[in-house]
């Protein structure tokens, strides 16, 4: 059966080429990122962010934090937001129709009263039930908006309507924000003289295993459980190696929904967040980029490699599965909405590089892998497997995966070195060896399921349930 063997060869060599291409791409991106991070770290050492926090000439910022059933922690979280040192700041908490007593807790803790605040409904949203401000002057930066439940995107749109400042910083209210985070995030908007920076994002790190008190990070630590630990490794790879390089060539298509800053004027012109997708954070960035490309205006989406915000990662396979399923559906929806950009030179780097990358590598990769497994099973059934060859292939792929992770760990040690103890790094390295076996297949499966669910048009809107975790978000 020559033709069968030919197909077999084609598939295996095809997979091999795909993987080698991936390998070369990863290494290239990795090396590129390192240079950029080091440059950033050097530049950073010259900046006294404190001095700039007190200046009157800094641009106005509104922090938008949608809250849903945050309950016990909301007081502390709001408090830590209010203690951010920045002059022209307002903190807008949007209570997305919580079923618990969040709003009452806030009213009591911050001495709030209902006010007749004028809001121009530029972006259509669900109804606002009331706007509250504090009677106490110390909390004058705080605005609390109570609205009907409508989901995160809708809540953020309300925040955008309420805000009258130049930049909006969209955060998850239970994310722990670093002290100088706001200034570091705003700096790119002010530093760039060639283009208009429309959005910036930072690095999100995993808070599991860290010592946290009163809404502040006290000490960094590696998570004890396997699942959050392997996600730590994942985040290190994604942020340290990937994002920096993309940002450098101005091809960044995603800013973490946990913490990102946006030019309000552009957001409004684009129509705000899209509540018809579960991947609203990525979709907005892509839509803003598309807007600027279509208007032919020079712009940039910037990225800060500093860890600015810490968040809880899913610790159970079930919740992790839901999260990855959601990410996949969000990616599909975003790519679908903006498919006009694919390989379209009118859309610059996004069209030519970023979009195809997301489509072929982020979206298709799990599907290709899954298909590979199916084909393997099929061929095994027919006895056409050259076992030694196949084993060698498998071992190669495994080793490559481990190699890339180790490379990422080395980058982490050389740059931010958040996990100083030798024991922790050893743990991370062991995790790198375990990941391809115990984690990766699960993620591939969750992604495939996401595709299936999308095709079945499952919608996950309505009430957003939080199982004691922050909303699943893309890193």
């Amino acid at each position: 059966m020559i033709w069968l063997e030919l197909i077999y060869d084609l598939i295996t060599y095809g997979l091999l080429c795909y993987s080698l291409f991936l390998l070369a791409g990863y290494i290239g991106i990795g090396l590129y990122s390192i240079g950029e991070i080091n440059k950033y770290l050097h530049k950073n050492s010259f900046t006294n962010y404190r001095i700039l926090a007190t200046s009157n000439d800094t641009p106005s910022i509104s922090i938008l934090a949608p809250a849903y059933n945050e309950g016990a922690n909301i007081i502390e979280n709001v408090r830590s937001l209010l203690s951010i040192h920045y002059n022209n700041l307002e903190v807008i908490i949007i209570n997305d129709g919580s079923k618990d007593d969040s709003i009452n807790k806030l009213i009591v803790a911050y001495d709030l009263e209902k006010v007749d605040y004028f809001v121009d409904q530029i972006i259509e949203t669900k109804k606002i039930r009331g706007i509250y401000k504090s009677k106490n002057k110390i909390y004058r930066k705080l605005i609390v908006v109570d609205k009907e439940n409508g989901g995160k995107a809708d809540a953020l749109n309300v925040g955008i309507n309420v805000s009258r400042n130049q930049y909006v910083v969209c955060i998850d209210v239970d994310c722990i924000i670093e002290q100088d985070a706001l200034l570091k995030l705003i700096k790119p908007f002010l530093e760039n003289t060639k283009e208009r920076v429309i959005a910036t994002g930072g690095v999100v790190r995993i808070a599991n295993g860290c010592e946290i008190a009163n809404g502040r990070l006290i000490k960094v630590g590696l998570p004890h459980d396997f699942l959050p630990r392997v996600q730590t490794l994942e985040y290190i790879r994604a942020f340290l190696l990937g994002r920096m390089a993309w940002s450098r060539i101005n091809g960044l298509m995603l800013i973490s929904g946990a913490f990102g800053a946006f030019d309000r004027e552009i957001v409004v012109k684009c129509g705000g967040y899209n509540h018809k997708t579960v991947g609203e954070d990525m979709e907005l960035v892509v839509r803003m980029r598309r807007y600027m490309e279509e208007k032919d205006l020079p712009y940039k989406v910037a990225f800060i490699p500093d860890p600015l915000c810490w968040t809880e990662a899913p610790a159970s396979y079930k919740i992790l599965g839901r999260q990855r399923n959601r990410w996949t559906r969000g990616t599909i929806e975003t790519l679908k909405f903006h498919k006009v950009m694919c390989l379209n030179t009118n859309y610059g780097i996004v069209g030519v590089l970023s979009y195809p990358y997301w489509f072929f590598f982020e979206l298709l990769a799990p599907l290709v892998e899954f298909a590979g497994i199916i084909i393997f099973v099929f061929l095994a059934f027919f006895g056409s497997i050259n076992w030694s060859y196949f084993l060698a292939l498998l071992v190669c792929v495994y080793t490559f995966g481990v190699l890339y992770s180790i490379f990422a760990i080395l980058m982490e040690v050389l740059t931010y070195n958040q996990y100083r103890k030798g024991k922790d790094i050893l743990n991370l390295m062991i995790t790198a060896f375990l990941e391809p076996i115990f984690f990766h297949p699960f993620v591939v499966w969750a992604s495939v399921k996401g595709n299936i669910d999308y095709l079945q048009k499952k919608s996950s809107w309505g009430e957003m349930t939080r199982a004691g975790l922050s909303q699943p978000k893309k890193p």
Partner: protein, 366 residues
């Protein structure tokens, strides 16, 4: 068969790849181990050495020379042997210098002078100069910054070449250092700056200026006419922050500048230096302006408008843009004593959105 041949080759290829990967993994793991070892050792030293540096610096801050001491004799502060031994170590020197510079930023008076004494006594300026001559850009910037913080004016000529350097960071440090050396005269570089000065950079300059004792600006009229738009913007900020009334006329001229941002900043600045013609000038340019600038004009009118201007502002209430209506209503609210009445009596006062705008203003929300 052909494919059999390929398979064998393929297998060997894969095995070779596998071996390469394994070697790389081992290599990288060793790198990690070595790096961790070095970093952890450094960190151990860091806290101890920082303590040591702080101790010496604290003593130096409160050092009081003997009454009959020879002030020309610079070896007067007592330096512990341990510190003397560690000074050749680059890492210790970096820690020590950083702490010294940090203290210098916080203190003036005799304490500040003592820190200068300590700096000179330990001959740290030699190392600062070495940094300036280095090839790496961040070392150059560090060296320049150090010279500025320690007020080593005698090296002014060494810093000057960097004022229009191509790399932004070095330009900023050089310009800030010239400000430290020459006070407001240090802004001379604005006359010839070819690179755009970013907003961030302008913030740093303004902060630097805020630290200096007030002085006269010579050169603002040049800068307001500069071809470099960012220089014009910076000059406008100076006019605004320091309330320089003498430039009112030039600001009015800038209202017809082709750059929207400059016109906007001119509007913002002029409300800090108003005279009796300001309101009329603002109203004159209003019709042709962009939305953002129209809002700035209405905001400026909050400060400078009087009864004569009320009819114009009332007419803005009819603009279809809600933002303009809000801005106009707010402005009228601030024109005492009767401005707000015109909003209340407006024919649309009971319709959306004015009815809500009125409620907002009436509840006096900050």
């Amino acid at each position: 068969m052909l494919s059999q041949y390929f398979n064998l080759s393929g297998l060997q290829f894969l095995i070779a790849l596998f071996v390469i990967f394994c070697c790389l993994i081992i290599l990288l793991i060793s790198f990690i181990a070595i790096t961790l070892f070095i970093l952890n050792k450094r960190e151990l030293n860091y806290y101890d050495w920082k303590e040591l540096a702080d101790d010496v610096i604290t003593i130096a801050i409160f050092f009081e020379p003997e009454d009959d001491a020879d002030l020309a004799n610079i070896s007067v502060i007592d330096i512990p042997e341990k510190v003397k031994k560690l000074l050749p170590n680059k890492y210790f020197r970096t820690i020590f210098t950083n702490q010294l510079l940090s203290a210098k930023e916080n203190m003036v008076g005799s304490s500040g002078d003592n820190l200068d004494l300590l700096y000179t006594q330990l001959n740290l300026e030699a190392f600062a100069l070495k940094k300036i001559r280095s090839k790496s850009w961040h070392n150059i910037a560090k060296g320049i910054k150090e010279l500025g913080l320690m007020d080593l004016k005698k090296y002014r000529e060494d810093v000057k070449p960097f004022l229009n350097y191509r790399r932004q960071l070095i330009r900023i440090e050089a310009q800030n250092t010239m400000l430290k050396f020459d006070g407001f005269q240090g802004l001379r570089f604005l006359n010839t700056a070819t690179y755009p000065i970013s907003e961030w950079h302008q913030l740093k300059l303004l902060e630097e200026l805020a630290q200096l004792p007030p002085d006269d600006f010579t050169g603002i009229d040049n800068w307001l006419n500069s071809n470099n738009d960012s220089v014009v913007l910076f000059a406008l900020k100076l006019v605004r922050n320091y309330h320089l009334f003498q430039f009112h006329q030039q600001l009015v001229q800038l209202f017809s500048h082709q750059n929207e941002k400059i016109r906007g900043h001119a509007i913002i600045a002029i409300k800090e230096i108003p005279d009796e013609t300001t309101a009329n000038n603002l109203m004159a340019i209003y019709p042709g302006e962009t939305l953002n600038n129209k809002l700035e004009i209405l905001s400026a009118l909050k400060e400078v408008a009087m009864n004569d201007e009320i009819p114009f502002i009332v007419s803005c209430l009819d603009d279809h843009a809600t933002d303009i209506k809000f801005a106009a209503a707010t402005t009228l609210y601030h024109i005492k004593p009767n401005g707000f009445k015109y909003v209340l009596n407006h024919p649309d006062a009971d319709n959306e959105p004015l009815v809500r705008i009125i409620k907002h203003l009436q509840s006096n929300i900050e």
